[in-house]
């Protein structure tokens, strides 16, 4: 139950945004799909809410050199309508978060800053090697998403820092994200897997695999990806990768699912995700 009021600020420039976020007790408000219920439940008590949605630099998707720049406050609905093959694993996740109403408000930056182990866009950001641009009065720093998470709902971003954009390098290859849930929409991932595969002449030359909701943070499994490099991603190679994925996971029992079941699901889900990424890498239409 919220016990205090708060100040609402609506900066229009990045300069104002980082100045506002420097205020004590400031929280960045993007879509509010997590912040509002967390505040209502008394889990957070923001003194200042800094609405980031009206800063132009935080909106939209653009190609900048060899990367795609996604404004941190770009909504998942906006992303979901795009057809960017090099973003597939992120878009797969963006399209299935919550319901249509949630996606109209929720933002990619919000999903990243929330840093839920089950966040549906986070495994995609990991396998596509995305980099977060953080700005504060102290300057700018670029943090690869693989170094971003420090624990469940925890990350390296300081409260005074604004997540301005997320850059995803443009690379060859195909990517995908799949999740297991108990119902077919409006659910949180019980297990999530993303994969990126780069294929040349039928042979995998580079790969990345990330897992969600089965470890304290979304995380890459480099050992699993390595087993695929140099193979044709045949059944045997995929089976090896799946073993590494299972070995790298440390799921818990909670109200959403049991450890045992998460482990059982992880293998077929990894396989499905790899096959979808492979199909996309080979350029044929996905099944």
């Amino acid at each position: 139950m919220p016990t205090t009021g708060f100040t609402y600020l609506r900066p229009l420039t990045v300069a104002d945004l980082i100045r506002d976020l420097a205020e004590p007790g400031a929280f960045a408000l993007a879509g509010g799909t997590d912040l509002v219920p967390l505040r209502a439940a008394g889990a957070i008590t923001p003194a200042v809410l800094v609405d980031v949605k009206h800063v132009a630099e935080l909106r939209g998707v653009e190609t900048e050199g060899d990367a795609i720049r996604i404004g941190a406050a770009t909504t998942l609905a906006d992303l979901g309508e795009r057809d960017g093959r090099s973003l597939d694993a992120i878009l797969d996740g963006a399209k299935i978060v919550g319901a249509a109403q949630t996606r109209e408000r929720a933002t990619l930056g919000g999903n990243l800053c929330r840093s839920s182990p089950a966040g549906d866009t986070l495994c995609g950001l990991l396998v596509l090697d995305a980099v977060a641009e953080l700005q504060s009065l102290d300057g700018i720093r670029h943090v690869p998403v693989r170094d971003f998470f420090t624990g469940p709902s925890r990350n390296v971003k300081k409260p005074s820092e604004a997540l301005v954009s997320i850059r995803v390098p443009v690379r060859e290859g195909g990517s995908a994200y799949r999740r297991f849930t108990y119902r077919r929409s409006m659910d949180l991932a019980v297990v999530g897997v993303a994969a990126w595969l780069s294929i040349e002449d039928g042979v995998c030359v580079n790969a990345a695999i990330a897992i969600g909701a089965v470890a304290p943070t979304p995380r890459l499994v480099p050992a699993a990806a390595e087993t695929l490099v140099g193979t044709t991603c045949d059944d045997e190679a995929i089976a090896h990768a799946c073993e590494h994925v299972v070995a790298a996971s440390s799921p818990i029992d909670d109200v959403r699912g049991t450890r045992d079941h998460r482990l059982r699901v992880l293998r077929p889900l990894t396989r499905d995700t790899l096959l979808l990424a492979l199909t996309r890498a080979l350029g044929s239409s996905p099944p």
Binding site: M1, P2, T3, A99, F180, Y182, R183, R184, S185, M186, D187, L188, V255, R256, G257, T258, D260, H261, R264, V265, R267, P268, L269
Partner: protein
Amino acid sequence: MPAEQAREIVVGTLEYVTDLRFPGMLHGAVTRSAIPHGRIVAIDTTKAAAMPGVRAVLIGADVPCNRLGPADVDGPVLADQRVRQVGEAIALVAAVDEGTARRAAEAVVVTVEPLPVVADPRTALSPEVPKLHEGGNLAGRIGFASGDVEAALAAADVVVERVVGTGAQEHVAIEPPGGVALWEAGQVTIWCGSQNPGLHRRKVARALNVEIDDVRLVAGPVGGAFGARNDDPMPVFLAVLAKAAGAPVHMRMTREEVMAAGPKRHPFHTTVRVGFTEDGDLAASDMTALADTGPYVTSGPNVLKTSAEMSVGPYRMPVARFDGRVVYTNNANAGAFRGYGVPQVAFALETAIDEAAARLGMDPVELRMRNLLRGGDRHGLYGHAVTPGLRAAETLAAAAADEWWVSRREWQRAARGPWRRGTGIAMAVKGVGLGSGRGDAARARLICDINGHVRIWAGPNHTGQAIDVAYRQIAADVLGMDPARITVTVGDSQLVPESGATAASRSMYAGGSAVAAVCERYKAALAEAGGPARLVELGRAEFEATFHLPDVADPGLIPPKRLGDHAPHLVYGCSAQVVRLEVHELTGEIRVAGVVCAVDCGRAINPGAVIGQAEGGVAQGLGFALMEEHRLDGGRPLTTSLENYLIPTARDVPEIRTLLVEGDEPTGPMGAKGMSEVVIVPTGPAVAAAVADAVGVRPARLPITPERLLEGLR
């Protein structure tokens, strides 16, 4: 005809009772128990009462009669000596705004000495388990045998035994309980959703120690009920607070409060043995059921009564036995819920019959068909004659004629990859009304004006099923009038004569019959007097009629003195359902591809509303079958919100083909009978049969979660 206010409901402009505002209105909140069982040592309200804006803080001692019913086991309005459930109400607060009220409710300091928790209903009756009430932990028991079951089972060629369980389902009505109460000149008016305005008036009158005529309940509009608004204490909370605060009080429960403190479907542990001859004729059934009602009695024993009667399904059963117990625990209080004890026992019986079909090498439709009751046959347990309007065989035949059943082998063969495919069928029966010996009645009042415009006040209340439209259609039909010239009002206890609960599949049957009866009276008087103006002139423009639900003419094996203890029905409705689905053999996911719902509804007065009820029943039945379960650990709820208690979304509910098997119920209005409960019953066993068809393992527990399914496969 569309529902009254259909547009307002859909676009969200309908004013619900929680939207009401009064000048000087206060807001209420509840202090609730955080632990499942304990002795209350002290309740300190000083800090809460001293908070700015707080106008009243009430504890049990402040309630004139601190009881929700006539007996101790009905529970207190506010717990004052012991708490027996997480979420149980301990104090009420009224304050100038909702935030202040909730903070003050949290500021009430309750000192509780924890007591051992009774969490497992299977051991609740053991002598070493603490007693939750003076009389022990047995809330009710019902046993009946129509003959020597052991001998019949011993003589049977095939006996199938099943040990099954079903979970606690939450109603998840879209509107959490809430409303407004106003205390004025010794009388209280409460605007609060209710399935049973009469019962709620009695509860309020008892708690406040006032006459029942001093309590007015305006029970709607209601945003869904499904049984949850039958025992709901909200009208009592509102009335007690309004009187103490001397001002209008507004209150609404949060979803989290509903999840913890609201009623649930009774979880059951059920064992059944069903015997057959080698030709597939039923020889006997023997069922034992254990139901967990939580800390207070609410509907427990009545639910079990329905379980007993429906434990033999719509089948001829040469010999049958039922032995059921309902016990107290510190789990969530269970109450009335659509289906009322039938989905639990039908899951046991129907999956046993499905297994028997497999063992006998018979088609599950053929096996059922040769054992089904025909209209006028004698009931399988109690031996009374059932309505000639029962159309069980036609209902099963309609479902089985659907292409989804006919083409089930093609569906199965087309399975690809890890997705296995299966199809299942199941059947159910449910009585209409409270049953014989219960004095069940509904009433209607009619007034005409000089222009012949007719106003009707009728019950049972409308709780989302648009029963008021059906009343209007019946009146228009009887009177041969344009429905636009007829107004129907439901739900206001000051205007509507006592008509009982919107429950037991009785609203259309009982309320509709009362409306038809009052219209017949008016019509006769009209013919005699020569016109509405003349009736008004004569002062004879007001009419009232009572419809008494018929008891069974011949109670069969039930001793006439004990008729009300078993409450057998004369009128039953049936449903047969086909479910086709896919099962992922590696992850345990189940995707339902389609459901056929054939329903024996008598005459469908408003086919659109009947289809809506059928589809809603199937969707809720799919939730019960696949994902819905209120889970607790040592009496502490684990499923605390709609984030972790999952119900099906639109994407989880497949195409539903509703087949109306119309007929003529001779005792019903225009031949209609109730159907909104029976449609939830076959879904669970039909899903289980489809899963067995797909992967060869018959689930023993609902919901069939992916975890449980994979454990069964290993």
